[in-house]
Symmetry: C2
Subunit: 436 residues, 2 copies
């Protein structure tokens, strides 16, 4: 039994038309007409297949294929259907449509399953104009309050999130009742493009995900002294901008010293005040971000950074105000699902020569790469309530969040068939487990 690659790619192409802009990118964020059209198209697809549909309080779409005489909790496959501004056609969409393809393949082949199978398409996973990302998965796993959601409105149109969710078929008032509880589900698997270059650089189609990165962010304000850029001699300066520049380079240096592929540090947002060519900056703000696979590594980095920042403060005679604005722990994937996905990939994908495996810098089990996801996903939040796994598919040159995002047919096929077989194995193994 194989997935129908042609059908899957046809669906990918059809879905990608919603929000396609003149440059070839896709604009499909919550609140837009394109996002509504994508939802209608998805619902129609599901109905055509004879599946049942449920839209929850967060407007997440649940597509169910429930066999009779089946008392187990469902196995869920899915991702999200929204896109970043000017984004590509695979991020999110591939995971939803892969789920749908597997459901359809199993249904066509009349495969008897021990668990109901469902596909989910989450609302607003990407950064969006309502300023709440992974909105659908966080909402439905109890990580967002009703107050927080009701306070949000569209940055440009001003539409309230309440109204936008309602238009999409949800209802924020039903949030509490809709919340998933631990073990409401047997398992969750998300298929997603890698977004990094690990698979591409090694010419591999797919890998299994071991964990999803932790993300730590500080908003740092450097308070120095604004002054005339001509008349203030160098030794009298307390240049907030230069201190912040130095602090950003410290992040890079500290993270690089660890020499790991699963730890990164970035300063991407930086604001100088008063920002005038002839005035020494008195105040500079920046956001420092660290992504890490283990709490201990984060602690080690922060310890080193703290020491260096104190030194900068002392030498330059100015002051760092540091505020933690995000501290999301790494989310480990379920061991069994990770292993099953890995084993099924190994049956579809040719192994690398041993020397290539060794020089790749990656970890392999049975010739399948065990990857850390360096981007956040809906799977982070699903892992709080159910056994969760992810399968990564190569994205060419590691590109994502851009219109150039591309994944080869052969890689989709290999990942799809591995995922199909993983679902079948999970369906059996989880049942035996329940019997024990």
């Amino acid at each position: 039994m194989k997935i129908n690659l042609e059908r899957l790619e046809k669906n990918l192409k059809e879905l990608s038309q919603f929000g396609r802009n003149k440059d070839g990118g896709i604009d499909r964020s919550l609140g837009s007409e394109a996002e509504e059209e994508a939802r209608s198209w998805l619902l129609e697809k599901a109905l055509d297949m004879g599946a049942a549909i449920k839209i929850d309080a967060m407007a997440n779409i649940w597509i169910n294929w429930k066999r009779t005489n089946c008392e187990n909790k469902p196995i869920t496959l899915g991702s999200h259907h929204d896109a970043v501004p000017d984004g590509g056609m695979y991020d999110g969409a591939l995971g939803v449509l892969m789920g749908l393809e597997i459901l359809q393949t199993l249904k066509e082949n009349q495969v008897p399953l021990n668990h109901p199978l469902q596909v989910v398409s989450f609302t607003a996973e990407e950064p969006n104009p309502f300023n709440i990302s992974t909105m659908g998965s966080r909402g439905v796993t109890g990580k967002l309050t009703l107050e927080q959601l009701q306070a949000s409105s569209h940055l440009i149109t001003g539409e309230s999130l309440t109204a936008a969710i309602k238009r999409a078929g949800g209802n924020l008032q039903g949030l509490l009742k809709a919340q998933l509880r631990k073990n409401d589900m047997a398992a969750f698997i998300e298929c997603h493009i890698e977004q990094g270059r690990n698979l591409y650089d090694n010419q591999l189609s797919a890998g299994t995900v071991t964990k999803i990165t932790g993300i730590y962010r500080e908003l740092i304000t450097v308070k120095g002294e604004a002054n005339h850029a001509g008349t203030t001699i160098m030794e009298h300066r307390h240049d907030a901008f230069l201190a912040a520049a130095q602090a950003a380079l410290v992040v890079e240096e500290t993270v690089k010293a660890l020499n790991r592929r699963d730890v990164v540090g970035t300063v991407g947002w930086f604001e100088v005040s008063p920002n005038s060519a002839n005035i020494i900056s008195g105040n500079t703000k920046f956001i420092m971000e660290i992504r890490f696979p283990e709490e201990l590594i984060k602690q080690k980095i922060l310890l080193s950074i703290n020491k260096e920042y104190t030194e900068i403060e002392n030498i330059r005679g100015l002051c760092f105000h540091r505020e933690i604005i995000l501290d999301q722990a790494p989310a480990p994937m379920d061991d069994r699902i990770m292993k099953i996905i890995g084993e099924e990939i190994s049956k579809e994908q040719s192994p690398l020569p041993p020397s290539a495996e060794e020089s790749s810098g990656l970890e392999f089990v049975e010739h399948v790469p065990m990857l850390v996801s360096m981007a956040g996903h809906d799977a982070v939040h699903m892992s709080d309530i159910t056994k969760t796994g992810m399968i990564f598919v190569q994205s060419i040159e590691g590109k994502s969040h851009c219109r150039e995002e591309k994944t080869d047919s052969k890689d989709i096929e290999i990942a799809g068939n591995a995922m199909l077989n993983a679902v079948l194995r999970l369906d059996k193994e989880l049942t035996y487990e329940n019997l024990n």
Copy 2:
């Protein structure tokens, strides 16, 4: 003979009322009502004194006291009456009113002069909403084209510069005819607050200026590669922001290594793109500024910077695009005027103990500090057409361009009397020179 300190301070206080805002700062840029009121007040003062008034094409105000039988070119004293937003009451105003006070003192004492004496108040010296600073002095010394001036309009109100200058009593059409030619004037002296801390740190009232700093600016664009802050491992990055941060620190390091009080380097304007916490910057721009007393020093700094920037480009695999946006040579003051001002200051001001002179880091001649002006002034442009000198007066804590700007009465008095006597000596010495 002494200046009338009480009258001078009364005038300073009166002029400071025009544009005084609720926080105590002064808003008096070209185009504002306050600037017009300041002009009217100045003209009235001049008429009360019985002086003749001329307003030139650039709306610069010229106040003349012409003795009969006097064929020499005039000696001119002055500065500007406009202010930076939320500025102080001494920058510019002190120079104009000091000129007026000296003129009035000489007139009252019926001192016979060999040269006509005139006071000038230049239009729009400070950065202003028409985006042309030292506008009046540049205009009247032939450094601005009519096209350039006519193309400018007020950033907020949209009023054309042509109209604003007309309201102020000028007429851009008359620009060519109004231009000063070399030796149209016998000398120009500008009295100004120091704006730096050299006089304040050594508790000195006044100093003579040896030259006005050269200013060099580059707009530098760093082109790297925007990428996902999570999925791009450290060694695959071409982070434009980090390269620019490093480049800014290179400017500081290079300039500091020279260990001079008359060389500074600053990055005050810095713009990161796309400026998002989770995206590695693909493009960062900044303005690098160097102020220097000699062309050779600038060359030396640039040589060192060029080398370091090439290294950053190579190591980080990105590219610096550098554009020179300002290259203003240092303006040396006239040797004789510098010397006369210095000698006259030495008669009014108590010398420092020799050890304090030595440890100050300043150059002294006859116990008078010889200062490099690290800010630009109208005197830069006047030095192109006539013998020019400047006298600096202490500003407390070196503050300027802010409402806290303050200068002590005793410092004003010492500087004023030194300048009065310098004018008398110049009046004599320049006449003897003409006879030779």
